[in-house]
Structure formats: structure tokens, C-alpha cells
């Protein structure tokens, strides 16, 4: 990546003004050397105190500049949401990368390989953008890319059970597939990511299944439904067929952990 000018704005308003003129917001920069993109002006939000993880009675808020290591080690996130956001963060690459990569970079980049997007989708996360305001994560993932600045991620404390699982060829590689399941206000939510496209909710399977009707057979049926309704693709890590088979097993395991 080539950067012509680097700016550390003193306010989010100043950052937004630069952004509207075409400047690019830097996340953690972990993928700096993965492309040859030329950036005229790079904006670094590191001085804007956006690396927080805070909670009140009803919700947890995570600043966009919180690193994956912050999330992994946060006592707040370890004790809420069955700890699956911390667990997912801890499984990403090595400690060096987790010390620089940010949750904002993962979310705003809408990366297909992201483990965190899958977890956040299952937990029914909301995000807050400087211009577009607050919206649920699903809406953000579905909308066309627009210049904006991600401020924070909001998670309501309405999750009773949750589980995350991922499959990798090696410990530090991206996931071949990842799945997350949660019971949010009594309703089941199931997300599958690294398909290799970005995380998606298996809405058909979610609608079919009531957490009260759990059985091993029902978990297998849920997994089958999810595998049938979601689209999978092939890439260097795995074929479409392999991902579909993995989905059946991983969703079933998640269901057995969350619902049994």
C-alpha cells in the first residue's frame, strides 16, 4: 500500500470532512502489504479514544478502534454473550496481529473471511456510523458501500445462550467456514461466514426452528436446512461442496451446544 499523506485528526468531525474529500480511514493496518493500493490521504483515528469496551445495564459498546486483543482480553466481553466474541477474537492469527487489527477494520471491510462478523451477526449487533447513524449489522452488510466512519458496535444484553465454531486448515489461517448461533430474546439466530462470502443469517432455518423443540434430530434437521439455503463457493481453501458438508456438521455442533 502506498500512502502519500498521513493525517491524525483531532476530532471525528475533522476526520469526516477529510473522508468526504476522498481520504481513506485506516483500521489496524494488518493488511497493509496485501495490496498495492495507492492512497492519497490516510486518516488515522488512533487519537480519538475509540478503543473502548464499556457496558451499562442494557448493552455493551465496542469502539471501532478496539483491537482484537482488547476484545479477547476484555472482562466485559468474556462474561457477556457466553464469551463467544472474545473466543472468536482469540482464535484469529497470532498475538502480534491481534495487537494491531481492529474490530472496526473487520466490520467496515465486510471481509468474507471474518470470524467476528459471523459472531456479531448471530448476536444481532448494531453499529453506529458517523453520517448514517445507527443501524443493525445485517442492514449495513446488505447496503452498497458508502463513505462513512464506523464509530462503534453495540450489543444488547439480551442473549441467553451462544456458541461459535470455526474450521481452519492451520491455526493461523483464515477460516474455511465459521458458524455462530445465539438465542436472542428467546429466538434462535444462526450465522455462517467464510462461505467464502461474507457472513449471512440462515433465515429459513431460523424461522423453522424453535429453541423449545430441541432434540438431536431437530439439530441435524436445522443444520441441513441451513446448508441448503445458504450459498457456498470455492476458493483456494476449500470447494463449495466441502463447505456445504462442513456447514451441516458445524451448525449441528453449535445447536447441540446452544440448545441442549
Amino acid at each position: 500500500m502506498k500512502i502519500k499523506e498521513y493525517v491524525k485528526p483531532v476530532s471525528i468531525e475533522a476526520a469526516n470532512e477529510l473522508c468526504s474529500k476522498g481520504a481513506v480511514v485506516l483500521g489496524g493496518g494488518a493488511f497493509l502489504n496485501l495490496g498495492d493500493k495507492a492512497i492519497e490521504t490516510a486518516i488515522d483515528l488512533c487519537d480519538l479514544e475509540m478503543d473502548f469496551v464499556v457496558e451499562d445495564e442494557k448493552q455493551v459498546e465496542i469502539g471501532a478502534m478496539a483491537t482484537l486483543r482488547d476484545i479477547e482480553k476484555s472482562a466485559i466481553l468474556q462474561k457477556n454473550f457466553c464469551g463467544i466474541l472474545s473466543k472468536a477474537a482469540a482464535s484469529i492469527m497470532g498475538v502480534q496481529v491481534r495487537n494491531i487489527a481492529t474490530i472496526g477494520g473487520s466490520v467496515y471491510g465486510k471481509y468474507g473471511f471474518s470470524d467476528l462478523l459471523t459472531v456479531l451477526l448471530a448476536l444481532d449487533a448494531e453499529i453506529e456510523l458517523f453520517n448514517a447513524g445507527r443501524m443493525n449489522l445485517q442492514s449495513f452488510l446488505d447496503r452498497e458501500p458508502e463513505k462513512d466512519i464506523l464509530l462503534k458496535i453495540i450489543l444488547k444484553k439480551n442473549v441467553s445462550r451462544a456458541s461459535f465454531t470455526c474450521m481452519r486448515k492451520t491455526e493461523t489461517d483464515f477460516s474455511v467456514l465459521n458458524t455462530a448461533m445465539a438465542i436472542v430474546e428467546g429466538q434462535l439466530r444462526l450465522a455462517v461466514g467464510a462461505r467464502p462470502g461474507k457472513a449471512r443469517l440462515a433465515k429459513g432455518a431460523m424461522g423453522y426452528f424453535s429453541p423449545a423443540d430441541y432434540s438431536t434430530k431437530a439439530a441435524a434437521a436445522l443444520a441441513l436446512l441451513a446448508a441448503e439455503e445458504l450459498h457456498f463457493g470455492s476458493d483456494i481453501r476449500a470447494s463449495e461442496e466441502y463447505r456445504k458438508e462442513l456447514c451441516k456438521t458445524m451448525v449441528k455442533r453449535c445447536a447441540m451446544e446452544v440448545l441442549a
Binding site: M1, I3, K4, D44, M93, G94
Partner: protein, 150 residues
Amino acid sequence: MRITLTINNLKRDVEIAPGEVLYDVLKKCGISSVKKGCGTANCGVCTVLLNGRPIPSCSYLAVRADGHCITTIEGVEEEADNIGSLMNEEGAVQCGFCTPGFLLTAIAMKRELNNPTEEEIKSYLLGNLCRCSGYEGQMRAVKRYMEVSQ
């Protein structure tokens, strides 16, 4: 642009380009221990400590380190010597290319974790790849190092 880095407790004013990564700037400053492997933050060879935390210097903008403390093996000679001797005793070093990054991560782990389990040690060192050793000797050395430090 001009930045100030504290490298191994020594303040340095350095002229850098905005897109220059920390690894390249450390080389310009005469730090020879830091190596470059994959160049994409995957192998851990370029690890340095930023305010005590291990980071991949190949993928960290130098300008972001402005005003912060960078530690390389040259800055932790005594600790590096301690664990380095154990690595030698356990036959954990072959070509040695990954060793500076590996030692720095182990030193950061010792400072950060209290009495870690074998799984926690493995997890902390996951980001440091070694193509020679098979990791068994390194694990023996690190476990001894952690025991000595308790």
C-alpha cells in the same frame, strides 16, 4: 515527515515517508536483529515490542509509532540471554532466522501472563513460525524459561 521513536530506551528523530513501515525505519536506524519473513504479518519474524506488546513491524506504519517505545532484542539483552541459553540447551535453534522475533514474543508473554498453561504458551506463540525446529525444542526451552521466572 519527522517522527520521534524511543528505540531501546534511546530517543531517535527520524525522517520517514508516510507509508513507510516500522521494519524499514528500524533498519534505517541501524537495528540489525529484526528480520523480515513473509512481509504480510503472518510469520512473526519481524516481531518487535511496541510499548511492551508484540506487533508485526512489517505491517505497522512507522508514523503510528511516533512518540512510542520500541523494543528489539538489543534492548532486552539480559532476558534474551536467559532464554537464548535455554534455547541452545534444548536444541531449539537451527538457522536462527526466526529467533529474535520468537524471543521477543516469549519475553512479552513472560511479562504478561502469570504461570501460563502449556496451551496458553502455545496459543501466545502461534504467530511465530519456525521452518526448522518442529517447535518441540522451543517449547521445552520456553517452559523452562517460564518456570525460572516464577
